[in-house]
Symmetry: C2
Subunit: 249 residues, 2 copies
C-alpha cells in the first residue's frame, strides 16, 4: 500500500521542491518504487527533471480529462508533470462539489503500484495544497531556519488540524526538517532550538545544510545524486531519506 | 502624486518582503513620504515591523468594511497591516464585479498624501497580486540568482503584459534586481548574466548581496538601517533606493 507524503509549507523558497525531488530519487535508488506529483503551477519539480515534451499533466487530470499519467525517469521513479495552466485550477475547481477530494480520487486506483507517492505543493494554502493534504497519509514540513519562515508555522498547523478534522482523519504531521542550514549563523541555531522545543520528536535529526550544488543541479535537469554524489546536499538528503523509511515502517 | 510600486514575483522566498520593508525605510529616511501595504496573507511585512496590536487591516478594507487605515512607523513611514484572514480574500472577492480594481479604488483617495506607495505581494499570481499590478505605476521584480527562480520569469512577464492590455495601461515593468547575491557562486554569476542579456537596462545596477543581517533584523521588528547601518544589506538597499529615486524623477 503506497504511502502518500506531501511536502508543504506556504512560506516561499524553503526547499519544498528541492526536497521532493531529492528524497524521491534517494528512495528510488534504495529500491523503493516512487511516484512524484508536481502540484505547483510554477512546475519547478517538472523543470528539475528537465521534462519538456510531454502532452499530459496534472492539470488535465484534475479537471477530469483523463486519469493520472506519468513519465518514467528511471526504473523506480515516475513523475506526473505540472503545467503553467495549473494556476487556473484553483478558480476552475472552486465550485466543484467535493473539490478537496479530486486528487485523492485520482491517486486511489494507482496507489498500490508504488511504495511512496510524494507531492510537491505551491507556496500557498489554496485548493491545490488542500488537495495534497487531503490525499496524504503524512505531511512533512521543510523549514528554513529563519525568523520569517518560523512565523508561518502556527497558521500551517491550524490548517492541518482543520483538514484532519474535516477532510482526512488519517493525515499525520509526519515531521519537520530544517533546510538551507548553516550552523555558523546564530540565527539558524536559535531557530533550530525554537523548532525542536515546539515540535520535539517530530523534528528529523537530519538538517539539510546550505549547499550550492543543490541549486546548481536543477539547471542540468539532474537530482543531487546524479549531479554530485559527494556533496553535502547528497549526504543530507540520503540521511533524511533513511530517516523517512525508518518512520514509515 | 504618489508613485505606486509593487514588488512582485510568484517564486517564493526571493526577497519581496525584505525589499519592500528596506526600500520603504530607506526612501522615508531620505525625506520621502512613504506608505507600505502588506498584501500577503502570511503578513511577513507586518511582522517585520513588529506590528501586533492593531484592530484594522488590509483584508477588512478590501471587503469594504472601511477605507484604508494605517499605523505610523516613523515620521515619513506608514504601514497598512495584513492579517492571516486575508487568505480568504481570493475566494470571497472572486465573484465581485471589477474584482481586480478593488485595491486601486482604495488607493486613489489617499495617493496624493505620499511620494511612494509600495506593495508587498504573496508568492502567487492570484487575485491579490493582480490587484497590486492593476494599482501600480510600476512593478519591480526581485530575483534570486538561481535556476529555479529564473524559470518563472516568462510566466510573470506574460501576466504583466495581459494586465497592461486589459486592466492597467500605465503599468510599467520598472525593473529587475538581484537578491541574496553571492558573487563567489558561479551559478549566481551565470544567472546574473542571463538576466542582464534578457532585461538589458531594466536591471538595476545594485545587487542585494546575501547578508544574514537582513534575515536577523525582522526578528527584532527592525529594518536593516535600524538594526545594523554598516551591514552590506543596509548599503545595498540604500544604493537600490537611490537608483529607484533616480528612475522615478
Ligand atoms: N539546502 C539548500 N542549499 C542551497 N540552496 C538550496 C537548498 N535547498 C533549496 N535551495 C535553492 O533555494 C531555492 C528555493 O528552493 P525551492 O525552490 O526548492 O523551495 P520551494 O519551497 O519549493 O519554493 P517555492 O515556495 O517557490 O515553491 C532554489 O533556488 C533551490 O535551488
Ligand atoms: N539579501 C539577503 N540576504 C540574506 N537573507 C535574505 C536576503 N533577503 C531576504 N533574506 C531572507 O530570506 C528569506 C526570504 O526572504 P523574503 O521572506 O523577504 O522573501 P519573499 O519573496 O517575501 O518570500 P515569500 O515568497 O514567502 O513572500 C527571509 O528569511 C529573509 O529574511
Ligand atoms: Mg517549489
Ligand atoms: Mg514575502
Amino acid at each position: 500500500m503506497g504511502r502518500v507524503i506531501t511536502f508543504s509549507n506556504h512560506k516561499g523558497g524553503v526547499g519544498k521542491t528541492t526536497s521532493t525531488v531529492n528524497v524521491g530519487v534517494a528512495l528510488s535508488e534504495m529500491g523503493q518504487k516512487v511516484l512524484l506529483i508536481d502540484l505547483d503551477p510554477q512546475a519547478n519539480l517538472t523543470q528539475s527533471f528537465g521534462i519538456t515534451k510531454v502532452n499530459f499533466n496534472i492539470y488535465e487530470a484534475l479537471i477530469g480529462k483523463y486519469e493520472l499519467r506519468w513519465t518514467s525517469i528511471s526504473e523506480n521513479l515516475d513523475v506526473v508533470p505540472s503545467t503553467l495552466d495549473l494556476s487556473g485550477a484553483e478558480i476552475e475547481l472552486g465550485a466543484e462539489p467535493g473539490r478537496e477530494f479530486i486528487l485523492r480520487e485520482l491517486i486511489e486506483p494507482i496507489r498500490d503500484q508504488y511504495d511512496y507517492i510524494l507531492l510537491d505543493t505551491p507556496p500557498s494554502l489554496g485548493l491545490l495544497t488542500v488537495n495534497a493534504l487531503t490525499s496524504a497519509d503524512a505531511v512533512y514540513i521543510p523549514l528554513q531556519a529563519e525568523y520569517l519562515a518560523l512565523q508561518g508555522l502556527t497558521k500551517l498547523t491550524t490548517v492541518i488540524r482543520k483538514i484532519q478534522r474535516r477532510l482526512n482523519r488519517k493525515l499525520e504531521l509526519g515531521g519537520v526538517f530544517l533546510t538551507q542550514y548553516d550552523r555558523r549563523k546564530i540565527l539558524n541555531r536559535e531557530v533550530a532550538e525554537t523548532v525542536s522545543n515546539f515540535f520535539k520528536d517530530k523534528v528529523f535529526k537530519t538538517k539539510i545544510r546550505d549547499n550550492v550544488a543543490l541549486a546548481e543541479a536543477p539547471s542540468l535537469g539532474k537530482d543531487i545524486f546524479n549531479y554530485n554524489k559527494k556533496s553535502n546536499g547528497a549526504k543530507d538528503y540520503l540521511s533524511l531519506s533513511k530517516e523517512i523509511i525508518a518512520r514509515n515502517r
